[in-house]
Symmetry: C2
Subunit: 426 residues, 2 copies
């Protein structure tokens, strides 16, 4: 139980963090892009230099996680080795190398009265990031926020708390050395869950938007408690739809890659839909290839009749994000039923059609209402890096402000700049 | 008091509205822009044709409002005459004449692996509009939502309920005649305030964003109750800052227009800031012109010492949206203090600098963090129509999704369309 005194402490602490973030955000909004890039490169250098300290902190997190009985999947997310630490540093350098997302003239036009109007990109302000077990989010998220001139309040999960703190120290030291207010990147220095509640419900004066990165329970908490604006990240129940016109070899290649390249990412396919007219020709080959790759297939009665290795699927399978070597499989009447299935069971993340028929592809791309729709490509391309955005905080499944991969550009707002010569409105 | 039975009725009614809106939104998202334009023009025609019925409904609202003792300002907002009814119809036709905001390719690029990525505009989905006494918002908001392919749930104020219903009937009939699902434009058929609460807190599955248009009490209610995303519209505490380099004649013209052209709109200036070095030269002329135009000036000690007609200002004046022939006036040390004052007391709406000095103007435009910043122009230009957007729902003062004038384009989201030839992710 959290006592009354602890609660007051959390409130005072969070308000202090909020005030400092606001001040840092005002400074960052006026800062030079080159200065922010220098801080990013310095942070990368410090992460490499302090590799031993980060690894020691991570070993302590891993030991605590093993004692607490965390699953192998969670422990893998938590683990930092040389490769992952290098990836964090390289990621920060890649963010530094991207074009400045601020001060871009997004649109410009003249009015008949001589006014010249520009829409110019500016930072969002203060961004709250709530994340779970992956400590590398500390560097990735802070890097993208800094690049886009936003102050950030990081609230990492308790499992990765020591690792995240060690990474955070590198970021803060880089800010100090570059002459940027260290409050530009703050980490909530407690694992008290009350801090998350206060951030979501009571910091509307201090936080412009919250980006939650995590599983269902975090998302549900955010949806029920948030009064601050949220850039939502639901799960990825991604579909691969094999149209009757699909090329057999391409369908096989895309199905295996979409599901099995990495099963734990949100762009991994979770459901395979296939036209009835193509199921006899294609499904045994697809199921065979998936089985050979180590994937279990759970299907409806029609798929099971065609392929004896298919296990029975229940209604729950259509809306399950396995994040594992399991795929659900359903035979559909036609493209209309495929689109309907996706609208009903999907999470609005990423869906792909395999088809030679261009008209069918055009219909799928137009009518499926997801953040990312694809034709003849693996759903695993749903990734800011693969989109050429340099890096991403995640794939937004909401429709407000950002949708799809959220990179530095998506962490900006804009303002209108109007230049006149003394015009008054009639 | 609302009884338990009434509460259940409101819940059932609102869920029914939400379900119908979702279905209509799915249909609208696939609809042709020409069809939506035909519905807008038919609605304009019907509003003109049914002028007598709308005026009769408005007379009933006005009579009830007079009985309830509404202020003259509120009664003026409520009143519909021939000119205002024509303006509604013309507004719908202007919206129809605008380019289609949907299906625009906002960005397009290739990846080294051959994938072609497009960002394409799509509707937001279902939009809730909560407004107060102006019945013309019924037509304006519904028109913009329909233009941008969104279903809309309108919740007008109780004062204008009959007028809004009469206008709503024209919109619904126009949808019917055009063959669009009439549930694309629904109006909450009750003035029960519980309906607003339910819309804000419990309809996240049915409503993608709420746009509140109204005074402080509505905005506060929205801020404390909303779980659905909100495109926020705070009040407009707009500043006109007269720099020491300002031309005297231009400063006078802009001050009188920014404050007095119409005092009741959110883009009206509420505070005049002036450099100390220019106050002796300019302030008596500005105060004289404002007084001659019928405006009361409330100022700090320095303005009062220079101009005997200036009344004393209190701290509260700096954060008051008068919407009346009153302006607050403060002498500042320099541009830095002007920018600081605006950051502290402003509402992030619209601010303008009067200056011949280009460097000062550039600094003001860069450093003032408001939705609209202006140089040598009247703050009354803060308007979607004056910006060339055709029409607007309002001026957003939030930073998420939309900022500044909210027109049809700002009521869209986007999705990514990825075209490949069988690519898999390595």
């Amino acid at each position: 139980m959290t006592g009354e005194k602890d609660k007051l402490d959390v409130v005072a602490m969070m308000r202090g963090i909020g005030l400092a973030a606001r001040a840092a955000a005002a400074e960052l909004a006026r800062s030079d892009g080159e200065l922010r890039n220098r801080a990013l490169c310095e942070a990368a250098r410090l992460i490499r230099e302090r590799r031993a300290a980060i690894e020691a902190a991570n070993r302590a997190d891993m030991a605590a996680g093993e004692t607490r009985g965390l699953s192998a999947a969670l422990l893998d997310r938590l683990m930092l080795d040389d490769v992952r630490i290098d990836a964090m540093a390289t990621g920060l350098e890649a963010i530094a190398a991207m074009p400045d997302p601020l001060g871009r003239v997004l649109a410009e036009w003249d009015r008949p009265n001589g006014l010249v109007i520009q829409r110019v990109s500016v930072p969002l302000g203060v961004i709250g990031i709530i994340y779970e077990s992956r400590p590398n989010v500390t560097a990735d998220a802070a890097g993208l926020c800094l690049k886009s001139g936003n102050a950030v309040i990081l609230r990492g999960g308790s499992e990765s708390f020591r690792s995240s703190l060690a990474i955070h120290e590198c970021l803060v030291e880089a800010l100090r050395r570059t002459g940027i207010d260290p409050a530009a990147v703050q980490m909530v220095p407690t694992t008290d869950r009350a801090a998350v509640g206060y951030l979501l419900s009571s910091m509307t004066d201090f936080v412009d938007v919250v980006v939650p990165r995590g599983g269902k329970s975090l998302i549900q908490r955010v949806q029920s408690e948030a009064r601050v604006p949220v850039i939502g990240h639901l799960e990825g129940i991604c579909h691969l739809y094999v149209h009757e016109s699909a090329d057999a070899e391409m369908a096989e290649r895309l199905a295996v890659n979409a599901k099995m390249r990495r099963t734990g990412i949100c762009g991994a396919a979770e459901t395979l839909l296939i036209d009835r007219t193509a199921a006899g020709r294609l499904l045994p080959r697809l199921v065979g290839a998936l089985n050979d790759a180590g994937c279990a297939v759970r299907g409806d009665a029609e798929s099971r009749a065609l392929c004896p290795t298919v296990l029975p699927a229940t209604e729950a399978d259509w809306s399950t994000e396995y994040l594992d070597a399991i795929i659900a499989c359903r035979v559909v009447d036609d493209i209309a039923q495929a689109i309907e299935h996706i609208g009903h069971y999907g999470s609005g993340h990423t869906e792909s059609i395999v088809a030679d028929d261009e008209a069918a592809a055009a219909r799928f791309l137009a009518e499926v209402d997801s953040a990312i729709v694809m034709h003849n490509a693996s759903t695993q391309f749903a990734d800011g890096g693969e989109f050429g955005m340099g890096a991403e905080i995640g794939i937004a499944t909401g429709r407000i402000h950002a949708r799809g991969p959220v990179g530095a550009e998506q962490l900006t707002s804009f303002k209108y700049v109007v230049r006149g010569s003394g015009q008054v409105r009639p």
